[in-house]
Assembly symmetry: C2
Homo-oligomer: 336 residues x 2
């Protein structure tokens, strides 16, 4: 139950910190970060990358040690009005409803049918976990991948009327390319479900499945009577890659400490602390959601993506805090 409760926390609390932008080392002059305004945030990134890639310099880091980790929800794509994976789960509840007539008057499903997000929130973690269990398990990994692929290819965000995959942050796409061009290996380290993300993260971020770290449920190998092996998704949480789980996930999946990490919420605090505690040059960044007009503005009081303790720590320790409003010229790729 400990783990089950934690995944709910992940699902409920993954929206809020911030990540840091900049130009780039050698490429800095031609500006490979065109969507970033000139300023301290951009400069901190560009300077860091220049320092660790300067051969013979005091802060030089060998390419194989240039590990960069990025949170996903709220750091690489938006996360309002709810984590996109929760929107997916709610859509799945509706799609599966004909097979489950008993759900009609039963919580938490009733709240989903009523689009009653307040009631849902009141149902708390247990309610969300029931929804996740009902929509993410009891099928093979291949079946789940196909369901996610179909949903992500067709479903539009209520505010922007865009595919969810269009709500990625243009400055962060540039940043991913910029650090990769400087020899970094980029990873996503997210509280979101690892199998959910992997369906589209290679296409939209250029990050392959094996560089995605996330939360997961138990999966079981089964040899079917016809001799075909399958992996079955079971309704038990296995690992919650959030908060103190992020350094644990980094240790387990990557096996090296990042030298560069970006998040946007208190769920990223321990990842940034773990990154900061290594020897040599380090970069810690937070995306601060400060633009209610172009995106959303939220931090310390937000239910999703709360950025409170990590913001204090970032300010105290001089980590880079990127203000969406002032640091980013453009937020989404579809903006002109």
């Amino acid at each position: 139950m400990f783990r089950i409760e934690k995944i709910a926390v992940v699902l409920l609390v993954l929206i809020g910190l911030s990540s840091s932008p900049a130009i780039g080392a050698e490429q800095a002059k031609s500006d490979s970060l065109p969507s970033w305004n000139e300023g301290a945030s951009k400069k901190s990134i560009v300077d860091f990358v220049a320092r660790v890639t300067r051969e013979g310099g005091p802060d030089y880091v060998k390419p194989e040690e240039r590990i960069a980790t990025f949170d996903h929800d709220g750091t690489l794509w938006a996360e309002q009005p709810m984590y996109f994976q929760i929107a997916f789960a709610m859509d799945r509840v509706k799609a599966l409803a004909p097979k489950h007539p008993d759900w009609k008057n039963k919580q938490p499903f009733k709240a989903v049918f009523d689009n009653d997000t307040k009631a849902l929130a009141l149902l708390g973690e247990t309610g969300f976990l029931k929804i996740i269990a009902a929509t993410h398990t009891g099928m093979t990994t291949d079946e789940f991948n196909k369901i996610v692929a179909d949903w992500i290819a067709t479903t539009r965000h209520p505010r922007f009327n865009r595919l969810y995959t269009e709500l990625v942050y243009q400055p962060m796409l540039e940043l991913l390319n910029f650090v990769r061009a400087n020899g970094f290996k980029t990873f996503i380290v997210s509280g979101g479900g690892v199998e959910f993300m992997r369906v589209f993260t290679e296409r939209i971020y250029g990050i392959p499945p094996e560089q995605i770290v996330g939360s997961s449920g138990v999966v079981r190998f089964q040899l079917r009577p016809d001799g075909k092996p399958v992996l079955l998704k079971e309704s038990k949480i296995e690992f919650v890659d959030d908060g103190p789980g992020k350094p644990v996930g980094i240790n387990r999946f990557i096996g090296r400490r990042p030298i560069f990490a970006f998040g946007n919420s208190d769920g990223d605090q321990q990842m940034l602390e773990w990154t900061a505690a290594g020897s040599g040059a380090r970069f810690m960044g937070l995306v601060h959601h400060t633009d209610a007009e172009r995106e959303w503005a939220y931090d310390r009081k937000s239910y999703v993506g709360r950025l409170d303790k990590a913001l204090d720590e970032a300010n105290a320790k001089g980590w880079t805090v990127v203000s969406m409003k002032t640091d980013w010229k453009r937020i989404f790729p579809f903006e002109q």
Copy 2:
């Protein structure tokens, strides 16, 4: 307890199948597999690599899908007379003995001090688990890494009087290089401990830590009173990457199905089945330990690395079974 028992199985049963050798696609002519004798095994590898890399051909596979997974013990390095990680654990028991006077007459530790491997075997999984818990946990990941690094740099194998890292198979080193030169990404998928392996696998195989999948114990993030974060290794098994756990580990860590897999024991059977069940061209290989003179000869009756059911399946399905004795010109790099 279920998982704890399984790790013991891993530790006890990880020695025996086999992997398959060959020249190389375009490089085949200049022979990038010089330690492989000409024959069906080498040909099956070279032909497979040629087919999946031929652009426009019916079996072409894009580079990002060229995932190759290799078991470790008995597939990339030797595993007799006991898994090398168990030799490490036994050495650690001896090193720690002064701090634990109560171990002297207490099993399983007494059997270690007496070098009584038969008694140890009779103590079974529980005995090994006590040794693993006593030697692999209760410290930070950094502390553990240093202990492994010191041991692996100095300890010699009893039969060959060579460092354990010298007991890698030259033909498999060539094979790793050969498939990488043809655009494959190579992974180790082993029942061994992931943190143990990562200390040296990049240096000896050219496989970075993030491409090592293995068994693991629970690790916990802790912020020390001085503000320094550490990861503590706890005495609870988290994941056993063996047998049916291998496809699960592949799904979790890699998130793609391999098209090429090599093992040497029944613990690799499900990994090979999972690989075989994908669409398109597939390669499944086993290293069969058939050379008592240069290495060891064992299979169906071996306590460690048993190769029995997987050998039957390989024969029935036409997977490549590499005979060390007849397929490999040279086994270890130190041979002339």
